[in-house]
């Protein structure tokens, strides 16, 4: 399997504070990597650097061997906050990137329709974001990112603002899409259940200044069903990661948290 993304010696300082220590990470084709860590550990910073929304103070990020120096349509992103454009309907939100690419209108609509169906929002094409629940807004955001046909999908705690039940449904939905589309995904979360359930690889980051502490393959079979969350293999991995993350949360609690 080919390498999609290479993170090499990436470090980020905010003024005097070191937020992210020199970090290396290789992402292979079809990887679903979840990045776990205590809050303020720099996991979102790392993701934003990959997205090109933030710049490393040292090191570099390569996508298919090309250095990243800004945001682009080849890395679709789903944010924790609801970032649908409120003046556009669901359909026009999904078409947003396709318009940028200058696709013919008929083709835009065809693609948008397919992805709206994939996230289960058929019938809501003409709704405005404010008329949708949080879960539906995030589903639209996923469709919007996927419709662009990105090389990678970057997700920054996309289900963090959702209630527990909705969150579990969203996990299954996203996993189903990943199993079907075989996208390469980098997914930041602080929810250990979510990290294990979704991932082909879990990466645990240390407390600030962040660095990768553990990189663990998840061998659970696909397709995964929510019932897998109670299986012994899942539980074992979850308790291992819980220990690992807990140590970091404790470490983060002792050192007074600096401004993000």
């Amino acid at each position: 399997m080919g390498q999609v993304l290479t993170i090499r010696g990436v470090e980020r300082r905010f003024d005097q504070t070191l937020a992210l220590q020199s970090t290396d990470l290789d992402v292979a084709e079809n990887d679903f990597i979840t990045i776990l860590g205590p809050s303020g550990c720099g996991k979102s910073t790392l993701l934003r650097i990959v997205a090109g929304l933030d710049h490393p103070t040292a090191g570099e990020v390569l996508l298919d061997g090309r250095r990243i120096d800004g945001p682009g349509a080849d890395r679709g992103m789903v944010f924790q906050s609801y970032t649908l454009f409120p003046w556009l309907t669901v359909r026009e939100n999904v078409c947003f990137g396709l318009v940028e690419r200058g696709l013919p209108r008929a083709q835009q609509l065809e693609i948008a329709e397919a992805f709206i169906a994939k996230v289960g929002l058929r019938g809501f094409e003409h709704h405005y974001p404010k008329q949708l629940s949080g879960g539906m807004q995030q589903r639209t955001a996923i469709a919007r990112a996927l419709a662009n046909g990105p090389r990678m999908l970057l997700m920054d705690e996309p289900f963090g603002a959702l209630d527990h039940q909705t969150r579990e449904l969203m996990q299954e939905l996203l996993l189903g899409i990943w199993e079907a589309e075989r996208k390469t995904v980098l997914f930041v979360t602080h929810d250990i259940d979510e990290a294990v359930f979704m991932a082909s690889r879990v990466v645990v980051m240390s407390a600030r200044p962040g660095r990768i502490k553990l990189d663990r393959k998840v061998e659970l079979p696909h397709p995964r069903h929510y019932a897998i969350k109670t299986s012994p293999a899942f539980t074992a991995l979850k308790s291992e990661l819980t220990e690992c993350v807990r140590a970091e949360v404790l470490a983060a609690a002792i050192v007074p948290a600096a401004a993000p």
Binding site: G52, L88, Y128
Partner: protein
């Protein structure tokens, strides 16, 4: 009464109308009851009668038309220039840094104080009237539009970039449409201010307009006509405000959801 509890639509209308009833009642008692001299304050009936005379015999409709033309004309000129400049300032910080200090300063220059200068420069014709409205509304428009564009949610900007937007299309497809409802509200507010400037402009060196009629009436101590003129201004303001609100609702249905 409980704080922040809404009233029913019916009660809202009744209460709104009730104010005017009370207002006219107090006015009638004060004037018909002889508590106030006619020289200082005309009674409501005299006001309506002289309003009718103004409209039917003295060509007041033409004055109203002239005033509306001046307000709308000066305001449209100001808006047409203020829109692109405000958007450019909101979007591009160097442009903002260049213009903002001057515009902030110019905003506090009272438009009415320019009238003598403008008469010197532009005479007492329409250009001078339009210029007063322009000065009165342009700088505020620029500043408010630029703030509104500059307040665009940063996460929406980032989302657009990750979807492949260029800088130019970010302005066109995110900054402008996102700020549009607020800009429309700004236009509505500033149009209201333009109305106060036009009357001042017409008080000095005008041969037509509502303000001119008011100055003429002052010479004749015709308080009934003055009050009628003031009420006409209020009514036109109210109508244009409602029209603007209605237009904004039609143009930006998404901004109404969840209000």
């Amino acid at each position: 009464m409980k704080p922040l509890t809404p009233v029913t639509p019916g009660a809202k209308v009744v209460l709104g109308v009730a104010f005017f009833v009370v207002f006219f009642a107090v006015w009638s008692i004060a004037t018909f009851g002889g508590f106030v001299q006619k020289t200082f304050l005309a009674d409501p009936l005299a006001m309506l009668r002289s309003g009718w005379v103004l409209l039917a015999e003295m060509g007041f409709a033409k004055d109203v038309g002239m005033t509306v033309f001046r307000v709308v004309g000066g305001f449209v000129i100001a808006a047409v220039i203020a829109l692109p400049l405000g958007v450019a300032m909101g979007a591009y910080k160097p442009i903002e840094a260049f213009f903002e200090p001057f515009v902030s300063f110019a905003r506090y220059l009272p438009a009415s104080a320019f009238i003598p200068l403008l008469i010197l420069w532009a005479g007492i014709g329409e250009a001078q009237k339009l210029a007063v409205i322009f000065i009165g509304s342009f700088f505020s428009l620029v500043l408010m539009i630029s703030v509104s564009v500059g307040n665009t949610r940063r996460d929406l900007v980032e989302a657009a970039y990750t979807l492949g937007s260029s800088d130019a299309s970010l302005v066109r497809r995110v900054l402008v449409p996102g700020a549009a409802p607020e800009i429309a509200e700004i236009l509505r507010t500033v149009l209201g201010w333009a109305w106060t400037y036009v009357i001042v402009a017409e008080l000095i060196g005008a041969s037509s307009g509502i303000g001119h009629m008011i100055t003429d009436s002052q010479a004749l101590l015709a308080t009934d006509q003055i009050i009628f003129g003031i009420i006409v201004i209020g009514l036109i303001g109210l109508v244009s405000d409602f029209a603007f609100k209605w237009g904004n609702r039609q143009l930006f249905p998404w901004a109404q959801i969840g209000r």
